[in-house]
């Protein structure tokens, strides 16, 4: 899985070296004309079709390459609940901020920094003097803790199965005493199950990064419900190939999980990474911002890792802060936006009373407006000035 690695730093996204395989590097190394050929093929078999992807990086690829502007009008690609920072609950961000303001150095990934909790983002808190730092991987956070043994360092661990193995591996290797993990990590299969039951789309593009770890099998429930699924990579041609393969399945009247990213994804996933995850974490119910509680969709540290669990280590503080935050936040998400309906493909952003009014990319209220992957963010960007996007 790591044989084609050429760059030197593990990706914070996967914690493995797979991200740096040469095909991921510059788009100009793509096969010339491949996109045009795929677009012709898609054009030839186009039909009315609503495709949902559930991955932030897919949204980035689609936006970066303007794919919506070149796809046939009948094909609509919408963004499901795939942006991990977007679905991180406000309360978790609030706790991280409270820790950073009072007793610890809180360290996290860049894209978490701008996401607002109930009273502002980590970036806002940093400006107010809270001890917040940005890193590219958990290793950098551990290095920080090693450098300052007198300082409590809390790594705010967010993301899906793509970031979990790196965190598990780090804890298994051993961390300094002053280091702990604030876990806000999610499992994708339960969310996939929910989507299969309650969504208004025709087919799915499944995330290649997550599938690299968990394999293609967890996406099968979608196929059993009658949805064609393709696991896709993250170049423009990967996404176009995914759409083309979905059209092929629809043409055949089939619904299965195709692997459109075989240069990276194995059907069984990354067994070593999965084993490490199991050793360190166990499943728990988890709150998804804008969606609500999803059973068994979260991860918590096992008892053996209590010492490194920020929730346990700062238990006194944590319980009190959480209670206050919950009191303040009660019912607020629902009042403010219709994220749940947007994330499951049942409503377009323009139906939301906050869209473009209280809620804009500069002042995001809900998860869909939070980052560049969010559906509302992109809708806002593309819809203005009569733009070319038709998401």
């Amino acid at each position: 899985m790591t044989e084609k690695t050429t760059l030197l730093k593990p990706s914070p996204e996967t914690g493995t070296l797979i991200e740096m395989a040469p095909e991921k590097i510059p788009s100009k190394q793509g096969i010339p004309e491949l996109e045009k050929k795929l677009l012709e093929r898609i054009g030839a078999s186009a039909r009315k079709l609503r495709i949902m992807h559930v991955c932030g990086t897919h949204e980035r690829t689609i936006a970066k390459y303007g794919l919506r502007s070149v796809l046939p009008e009948e094909i609509e690609v919408i963004s499901g609940p795939g942006c991990p920072v977007c679905v991180t609950p406000e309360a978790d961000i609030d706790i991280a901020i409270a820790l950073a303001k009072s007793r610890a150095s809180v360290v996290t990934f860049g894209d978490m920094m701008r996401v607002p909790g109930s009273t502002g983002s980590l970036l806002d808190a940093k400006a107010e003097g809270a001890d917040v730092k940005m890193v590219y991987s958990i290793d950098d956070a551990v290095a920080l803790a090693e450098k300052k043994p007198e300082q409590e360092v809390v790594f705010f661990g967010i993301g899906f199965e793509t970031t979990v193995p790196a965190n598990a591996a780090t804890l298994l290797r051993g961390v300094p005493e002053n280091f702990s993990l604030l876990v806000s990590q999610k499992r994708t299969p339960p969310a996939i199950g929910l989507l299969a039951k309650d969504t208004e789309v025709d087919a799915f593009i499944a995330p290649g990064h997550v599938a690299t770890i968990i394999g293609t099998k967890p996406f099968e429930p979608l196929a059993y419900q009658g949805f064609p699924v393709v696991v896709s990579g993250f170049e423009a041609y990967d996404v176009l190939l995914g759409i083309s393969l979905l059209l092929t399945q629809l043409g055949e009247g089939a619904a299965r999980v195709d692997n459109g990213y075989p240069r990276v994804v194995k059907p069984e996933g990354n067994l070593i990474a999965l084993k490490m995850m199991e050793e360190v974490f166990e499943t728990a119910d988890s709150e998804w911002r804008g969606i609500g509680n999803i059973e068994r969709s979260g991860l918590v540290l096992k008892k053996e890792f209590e010492e490194q669990d920020a929730a346990k280590r700062h238990e006194d503080f944590y319980a009190k802060a959480l209670e206050e935050i919950r009191k303040k936040a009660k019912g607020r998400d629902k009042k403010r936006c219709i994220c749940a309906a947007i994330l499951t493909g049942k409503a377009n952003p323009s139906r939301c009373p906050s869209f473009g009014k209280g809620c804009t990319p500069k002042t995001p209220a809900g998860p869909c407006m939070v980052s560049q992957e969010g559906m509302c963010y992109n809708w806002f960007k593309y819809a203005r000035a009569g733009g070319s996007g038709h998401a």
């Binding site: 990706s11 510059p26 502007s69 990934f109 993301g159």
Partner: protein, 350 residues
């Protein structure tokens, strides 16, 4: 004995400060005079003699304070950034730089060798642009007040064309050029700051552009109009910010061809890895130029003669559609808006 670090006395106005000015600043600035009273007079001010300029010429005044962490980066320092930045601001207005000032605020404890290197770099960069540094100021502060050096440079220039060049002069049909590869400064700095080992020799592009741009300011269409219609340096916020500002102020759209924008492979690779958009990354030695259509070859020929313009390229066209917006088209026709960056580029993870 020469002290090895800056102390508060170095800014106190006494003998120690005089010695610092004499031994470090005056020594390292070769060109210190633009009139009968120059820097070496250490008078309350300096003079600039105006000669041989058209009475229609206008003076251009600009100022910029420079803070950068760290003060030394591949493969130069804040001194070059401060001089080049102000020279470029004048250049972008179509003004010949006449004189610069140099104000320094430095914390006690700052290594004297680093201080001298920075001052020497300022002198060298100013010499490269043929502009004298004619007056200055040195202040020291306690180390708890500041953790590194701050430089302020003010520049006075005089327009050489009939009118100053603005960033708002684009009209539909104009062509958009950049003078070289995009994103080098921001990515080299980020890699250096974060200790990324990208295994590349990417360095900051910080450079004074006056001599590169000067010959273009003289270019005229057969009707006698200036060939350059608008100009801007894509510093903070990168090309995305500069082009959006130009489009908005000009009331026109800009259509960029992604394949024609020059990027160094190391910049593309780093941006792909870190989830950054190279269009949003800072440049310190590049210009975005709007020119009248039909003059692309002539302008490129002139730019490519200068080392700072060897990778110059036409990257887009000004349109009457999409007023105030910048649209990027890729090799298979996909289009997207290029947005004004929200703030400093933040790497994305998921």
């Amino acid at each position: 004995m020469k002290s090895t670090t800056i102390t508060l006395e170095h800014g106190a106005g006494g003998e120690v400060m005089q010695a610092l000015i004499g031994e470090i600043i005056l020594k390292n600035f070769n060109n210190k005079s633009a009139g009968s009273v120059g820097l070496e007079s250490l008078d309350d001010g300096s003079t600039i003699k105006l000669e041989n300029f058209d009475s229609n010429s206008e003076l251009v005044l600009t100022t910029d304070s420079h803070v950068i962490t760290p003060a030394f980066f591949p493969d130069t320092n804040i001194g070059r950034l401060a001089v080049a930045g102000t020279v470029n601001d004048l250049t972008m207005m179509g003004a010949k730089p006449l004189a610069l000032t140099c104000a320094v605020i430095v914390p006690e404890g700052f290594p004297m060798d680093d201080f001298e290197t920075i001052i020497k770099t300022m002198g060298d960069t100013a010499a490269e642009a043929d502009v004298p540094i004619i007056t200055g100021d040195t202040k020291t502060v306690e180390k708890t007040a500041l953790d590194s050096i701050i430089l302020n440079t003010t520049g006075l220039g005089i327009t050489v064309a009939e009118k100053p060049v603005r960033d708002s002069g684009l009209s539909p049909g104009d062509k958009i050029l950049v003078t070289g590869s995009i994103g080098d400064h921001g990515i080299s700095l980020m890699a250096h700051r974060e200790g990324f080992d990208f295994d590349t020799d990417l360095v900051s592009d910080s450079a004074p552009l006056w001599k590169l741009i000067k010959p273009l300011l003289e270019l005229k269409t057969p009707e006698g109009a200036a060939v350059i219609t608008a100009m801007k340096d894509p510093t903070r916020g990168g090309l995305a910010n500069a082009l959006n500002e130009m489009a908005q102020k000009s009331g026109a759209g800009i259509l960029l061809e992604e394949e024609d924008i020059p990027f160094k492979p190391a910049v593309s690779a780093a941006c792909e890895m870190l989830g950054l958009d190279p269009l949003e990354v800072a440049n310190e030695g590049k210009a975005v130029i709007g020119i009248k259509a039909g003059f692309e070859e002539k302008v490129l020929e002139i730019l490519k003669k200068h080392p700072y313009g060897k990778d110059a390229a036409v990257i887009g066209t000004v349109t009457s559609e999409n007023k105030g917006e910048v649209v990027l088209r890729n090799r298979f026709g996909g289009m997207r808006y290029v947005d004004v960056p929200a703030g400093d580029p933040i790497p994305r993870v998921c």
